[in-house]
Symmetry: D2
Subunit: 347 residues, 4 copies
């Protein structure tokens, strides 16, 4: 089968021709129908410092997908041939402390698809049935594939209260866009979306159906801390969702959150971040939570419900579609350009 | 001043002419601009068994209102003349265990406006500043007045998760209508609204903007338990909000809630209700919570945010408006007819 | 192997001689070292109405045990031969909605050990590795076996706050005794233990180390509602744990809980229970939760920690030990007499 | 009356002779019977950078006390002459957003006793009745006074789960000692107490009744991160309570907390603290909360219950008692020496 791979430790991907993987006990063999590109894939493509440390070659890349079950390993229950599935990226062990207490997303032995094990930029992949999600066939293929990053947004947004709250989304990549739309669709009073990329800010607004609850803040043009404090009479936002991965934005988050408020952090930072813990967390009595992956599978049930009901229409931010795995380089370049929402490739 | 009163222990109200109440330390004197009718007022008007036990005459009736601050007692902070306020019905003591632990709504010494102390079906009323809520002047007067029952719905709905959930609202009076609209505006996937009054079911749908997430169930025509189980593949609803006050509806609530689900009860029942606690609560591992009043003032902040943002437009269910306190009998009759949403009287 | 069985639909048990069960993929074969008797086993022995409806013969009985892993099925991870394990009674499917959202204890396809599948009153049993719990070898065998009902108490007690609370335990069987001791060991200010059996009340006090926080209430001699209200200045208890399974005790629970308090129900009632929902739940703004089984495996981790640390010493209520499965009738009779704590049989 | 004051902006305190303050509406006049010294008082005495910025002279110092109500202002309810009271240090406005949502401890207009308004190192003080706490007369005077810092510990410890958890207390001042004892008395399995002061570590152990659950770690002699990881099989602690106010200890907290664990921060840091947010919070999916003051008055109710029940005996760490306000310099010096627990002065 064809597969987009990192064959050797160097920049770029190669289109390989490899054996269809063999399905083991408890696994599904899935024919990939759609796959989408994550910022992580761009890091691996670029072969940056993080990727060099983390990825062992050869490796098939990719973790966002939708596909059809074509074969079932021994002992699989709850799935059948023909089911259209997506998959958790966090392949958990099911027997560690975290897995046994409902926290498989932070499994002590977790392996990440497309990083630690072979991924979905391929014609087929195998996966433990315990990491598979059965889709409602009415949802479009590309939306099924984009559910994984959508789930990151769902996990972050619903770490606390939303309805009636004033919420800031720092960083407007696809997950930030989803977060803003979720906040709007589920009752936030005001949502500030902060980025320096007007194209992406525009997509957030579009995904949120041009709701008047959304305020776009281009941080290159105005100070987001001042904007939020001014709009809240100096009190600050109830909730800040830090999705930029930029240290300065995290520092700003603690300046713009109100006393007793919440800062949920999905961003990943290069190096340590100096924080004013005293004024930003302690005196404010603030709540901070780190967000990793998606609750398995609470987040998926909730995500699917929100998509099925039409409360969020993810197809609005699927800006690019490519046919054929040989177009993956183009897909990566579009994603890296900053002029895209979600980029989908149909193998 | 004119005031709608229960002067003696008998059916009906009388329009009295009484002194404007004197403002005491810590109180506000408020000129009533709009007042609305609650089912409780109808009970008092009818002078039913509950009312006969509870109300001591003479008493000015009414607890939903909006009015202008015209005088401030000594020591009041946070309000000024000209503020447009509404008020908590629960007049709490501020020094009991409940009040000192953030639960003033279940104050051990609570007095209810329009029941234990004089109410707002009058030209003026006094109130402790600690029970007043300052309105955003952009909100229409009649909506300000209807915030109090809206707050009951807010308190009930947000006792637990809403976004992505399947929710049943049992009983479609004005509070049930508000609950359905809130669930829809804040991300519930499916909302079943159950009543036997098609007029009121229609109002719920209207308040929810005719959302396709709403399913109306006329319990006179179909079994709501069967309807909910069928729509959820036999699993049951994630959440049931019991707002009918009918014992049989409460019994049905425990049949239609899923294992691990939530039943929030705002209804008030005449007599004991026989419940299948074993199958309905214990084996299901269900959560049940009783709802009384509104969180002071967490609910009011959230309610105001939802109204300001336009996520719920309460004016859609304000079906009747009357000018003059002398129209109160008409207002009560409309309310008792079942052919109304919220009924507002401008004194 | 020898096994205590219900061979035919009639009162009593028989000691059978059956094949050692074959271990399947994902299962453990366990040599039973200790097993303990639950009230449920007594119901099955007596062959009461519930048992007649629920049990299909032939069936090996029993669900509380500790044993040694002697063989591992294919694909098992996290266990090895020689491990001393106990087991969850709730054998969950791992693929339903409940299992996939961390609520395996209320699995939609749950099978109960010793009821729906063969149990542990035998020399050997097989079990899915996913339902096994690896014990710290320092814990005595009989305590390992009693962890299962101890877990019921842990699940119930920690459904909400404990430290500094006034708590009532209604019903003083072994689980009630455990609950009282847990409340005492984890900071409750006052614990009222209610039963009509002085022997068992005495065991509760012993298990709680004769703590002065414990007050025993013999409901045959004094009204527990009056006792609790008197001791709390009329306010009521913060928490009531209903573990008696008697309708009248449940009714009393709602009379003795304070406004804003919690009633956690583990009891199983024959038939419906008429409840004053209005005064007992709604006006009080009370929280009620049903308790089924143990959180898998959050409860087990917590239980083991409490046992390891010596905060609760379960051996204090293990009143009877028998050697040999042929003594099971004696064990059942002791358990049925009401003059026992936990009764353990070493096969 | 006599009062220990900062009369002018310089090091040290002076014993002044001032008028007994006049009781205003809603206030209590209290005759101070016992007062205790906090680390903050030492900072003010030393006149360090923080104190120079914050304190305006003249000011009576002190915020921990117990005293007798000798006069009541107009409108006070819930107190009477002769009541023995202690007081919240956070004097809240009662009308801001925080106060109206049950978060008076982070009031937007808060004034701190002994810092922003006159304190209790005096023969008398006045206080709003809303900030007073009525003591059980059975509790010793010096313990009543020490309830305020004890409440800081209660607020921090019960920000999350305790029973069955492995908990690290970083920093062993009086609040750290209380935290360790609370964890022990309310069911933590293992408690690591970290400091470099063996005298204070010893006091923590004493306060916790020499429980075997306590492990003392002198950070000058061993690496607390290594110690905690080793004792937890590499997993890390369930909970870390950062009470040292030292940046490096906060950094260590995020290294020793397990995935999904909690870090509660009461410490106050000079300057920003560089944190590994990515590994320490985000990937771990950790929960962090800042702790300021005490929940008003939820924390006080819980604290009093724990003291009344004898679960924690604060008198064990009251190491020094002085008679007379003229001994305040001695008291401060003892406190600054590091060779003390709680230091109490009887005016």
């Amino acid at each position: 089968m064809k597969a987009v791979m990192k064959k050797k430790p160097a920049k770029g991907f190669e289109l390989g021709d490899v054996e269809v993987p063999e399905v083991k006990d408890g696994e599904l063999l899935v024919k990939v129908k759609a796959t989408s590109v994550c910022g992580t894939d761009v890091h691996i493509w670029k072969w940056d410092e993080w990727a060099q440390k983390r990825i062992k070659t050869p490796r098939i890349i990719g973790h966002e997908f939708a596909g059809e079950v074509v074969e079932l390993g021994k002992g699989v229950e709850g799935f059948k041939k023909g089911d259209m599935v997506s998959g958790e990226t966090h392949i958990n062990c099911e027997h560690c402390f975290q897995c046994r207490t409902g926290n498989g997303h932070i499994c002590e032995n977790v392996k990440l698809r497309g990083i630690d094990v072979d991924g979905c930029f391929a014609e087929y992949l195998t996966m433990p049935a315990g990491t598979a999600w059965k889709n409602d066939p009415k949802i479009p293929l590309e939306v099924m594939s984009a559910q994984e990053p959508f789930g990151n947004a769902v996990h972050t947004v619903y770490s606390g209260k939303v309805a009636g709250q004033t919420i800031v989304v720092m960083g407007c990549g696809p997950i930030g866009m989803c977060a803003a739309a979720l906040c709007n669709a589920t009752g936030a009073e005001k949502i500030f979306v902060v980025d320096i990329n007007d194209y992406r800010l525009g997509l957030a607004q579009k995904l949120a159906g041009n709701s008047s609850s959304i305020t776009l803040v281009n941080a290159a043009k105005e100070d987001p801390v001042k904007a939020v404090l001014a709009a809240t009479g100096g009190r600050g936002a109830d909730v800040v969702l830090e999705m930029s991965g930029i240290g300065e934005c995290l520092r700003q988050s603690f300046k713009m959150v109100r006393a007793g408020g919440r800062v949920s952090i999905l961003g990943v930072y290069s190096g340590e971040v100096p924080l004013d813990v005293t004024d930003g967390i302690v005196f404010k009595g603030a709540i901070v939570n780190g967000v990793n992956g998606r609750l398995m599978f609470d987040t998926w049930f909730r995500s699917a419900a929100l998509l099925r009901s039409g409360k969020v229409d993810l197809s609005r931010i699927i800006t690019h579609k490519f046919n054929g795995l040989d177009k993956m380089d183009e897909a990566i370049e579009v994603m890296a350009s900053g002029k895209s929402g979600k980029v989908v490739v149909f193998p």
